[in-house]
Symmetry: C2
Subunit: 364 residues, 2 copies
């Protein structure tokens, strides 16, 4: 008798034996072995499990198929995780219909469990691409794993940004891990696997079927603690992922964009509906207490500036990071010397300007 | 003894005798006549009223100056309203420091009291200009008066849009009404005066002093029931107007924009702080119960269009508001006649197309 793990993997190779069906069937019949032992009449009492699928379950040579799938995965360097494995991502395990089987190429580290998804339109604009790459890089630099879908457009840029930032990134695919889509992301996929992982709930050889992608999207949001939508049309997969994220209790963020751009119509709508408006990684990190201290220092200065008076702001912007003697600063400032000196002291107290011996000042 | 109105107008001609000072002084001394009768020692007990200004008040030949100002205004076709005049805008009267004197070229109609301000950066981008003009046109078409500052950039575009929409628009200036700024808006100012009004609290001949503009901004927001910021940098006059509007209890709205655009940084920030995100006039009108029904039919159609299939959308956009026989519609449509007829029926059921006797169709 094959073990439960092998049978679970075998069942998961059946096309259209979706996680939601698998979860309900296993609950009904106690285990994968129980599902495989059920009659067709019993099987079709499971929601979404019709006669055709029941026939496929009944006809499955589960032990052989499950073992063969594990052999092939091993040969490709792909790990297979089931719901019961310790390595299975904790956050994903808690969504309503978690994948019972998860293929993994590369590694998941503990910090990947606190990753942020950056997703959006395949038909992205130059604006969206720039922003996705920047956000991916900023998050990665702050030590946050960037999760996305390896799709054309926003997804690819988000992964690339994270890689460029020297950080970690995880891609969730709507195909088997041996069947990359889109094909031009081959190199990118290799890089992601090297600095993170490729994940899929679909068996080896699974094609990019349209119905795979909404399922894939729930895994992206399920893995992440927050989802940032960079660009999305009003009826789009990215907005579907945002809805899924809300159902899963994830924070949803969106990048605003021109009201004249169709790919920003979805993100602007999300913001109107309450999604957090994001102008940079700072806005995402600040939403999570444990991440707020990961903000880069240069960024922190920008925030402090917001509380300055206009003369303080002017003086600060006149001082560069190169040290400057106070006399030069006073000469270059419009007000009287005493006022400029007082402003300098104020900026120093606010931690924005540093005084060096000999009354020489520089920006922090 | 000159009347109170003449003395009020005279006091208002004194440079730096700002409304806030005038209001406090008149409250302290009972009237403009009381202010003019006060000693310098008494005058300087008013907040913001220093010895120099007190000297100017004492030295003012009020009766002569006030009468001369009224004579000159009359000759220019400019009406002068004081706080006590029935014509004085009701909403503006209720702000903390209303102008005690308001110069008006053109007319204010009752509906102008429910106007919406559309404001923003002088250094606007092409995006901001397009949006300001479109929003001005949409609001004007819906019968809403567009209030702005006649400045370069967003303000000018908002006025132009309103004029193009055949609606009403009001410009509040930071100069005397005989001293337009910027000079290239001469023609625009004439058009605004013809389809609305130019307003200013500054006396004839007043120059575009930098300190006039924040004061002007409080009048813009004070006149309006809501303020839409189209584009604004993070430290800008437009954001100042938005702050003022909030203090005055006005609704504040903002147009989102690219996070890569400095002139959208201010509007994106406003949205993050709770300003209503605006994608078009619809979003502004919907915020006011009495305006919600002013949505243009075309706009209402746009909302319904969101639920249409692509062939339905194509057919709808091919049908104009002029009635068209079904044969013409079928001839102009790509699909077979029966399909087109079915689509027409669907559009009719959705209330987007109206059938007239003789199988003649038009958009609703």
């Amino acid at each position: 008798m094959a073990n439960e793990r092998t049978l679970t993997i075998a069942l998961n190779t059946l096309p259209r034996f979706r996680a939601a069906i698998a979860c309900e069937a296993c609950e009904r019949f106690g285990s994968a072995a129980g599902v495989l032992a059920a009659t067709a009449g019993e099987l079709i009492t499971v929601r979404g499990l019709g006669p055709v699928l029941a026939g496929a379950v009944r006809g499955l040579d589960a032990e052989r198929v499950g073992e063969e799938e594990q052999r092939r995965s091993l040969a490709l360097g792909i790990a297979i995780l089931t719901l019961d494995d310790q390595d299975y991502p904790e956050r994903l395990r808690l969504i309503p219909d978690p994948p019972r089987v998860l293929y993994r190429l590369g590694d998941l580290l503990p910090q990947d469990g606190a990753g942020i998804a950056v997703i959006g339109a395949r038909a992205a604009t130059a604006y969206g691409r720039t922003v996705a790459e920047r956000l991916g890089r900023e998050l990665a630099t702050a030590g946050v794993t960037v999760i996305s879908g390896l799709a054309r457009g926003i997804d690819g840029c988000a992964h690339r940004g994270a890689l460029a930032g020297g950080g970690r990134t995880v891609a969730v695919l709507g195909t088997g891990l041996d069947r990359l889509y889109p094909p031009e992301h081959r190199r990118l996929a290799d890089d992601v696997a090297a600095q993170g992982a490729l994940l899929s709930e679909f068996p080896l050889g699974a094609e990019p079927e349209p119905w795979h992608f909404p399922l894939r999207n729930r895994v992206i949001s399920g893995l992440a603690r927050g989802v940032v939508v960079v660009e999305a049309a009003v009826r789009s997969g990215a907005l579907g992922t945002a809805d899924m994220a809300l159902e899963q209790g994830r924070e949803v963020f969106a990048i605003p964009g021109p009201i004249t751009s169709p790919t920003s119509a979805g993100t602007n709508r999300l913001i109107r509906q309450g999604a957090g408006l994001v102008e940079g990684a700072r806005d995402v990190l600040e939403a999570f207490h444990d991440l707020a201290d990961r903000l880069p220092a240069a960024d922190a200065g920008t925030a402090a500036i917001a509380g300055l008076s206009v003369p303080e702001q002017r003086l600060l912007s006149a001082i560069g990071s190169a040290p400057l003697p106070i006399d030069d600063i006073i000469r270059a400032s419009p007000g009287p010397a005493a006022a400029t000196a007082a402003l300098l002291t104020a900026l120093e107290l606010k931690g924005l300007v540093r005084q060096q011996p000999g009354k020489i000042f520089a920006r922090v």
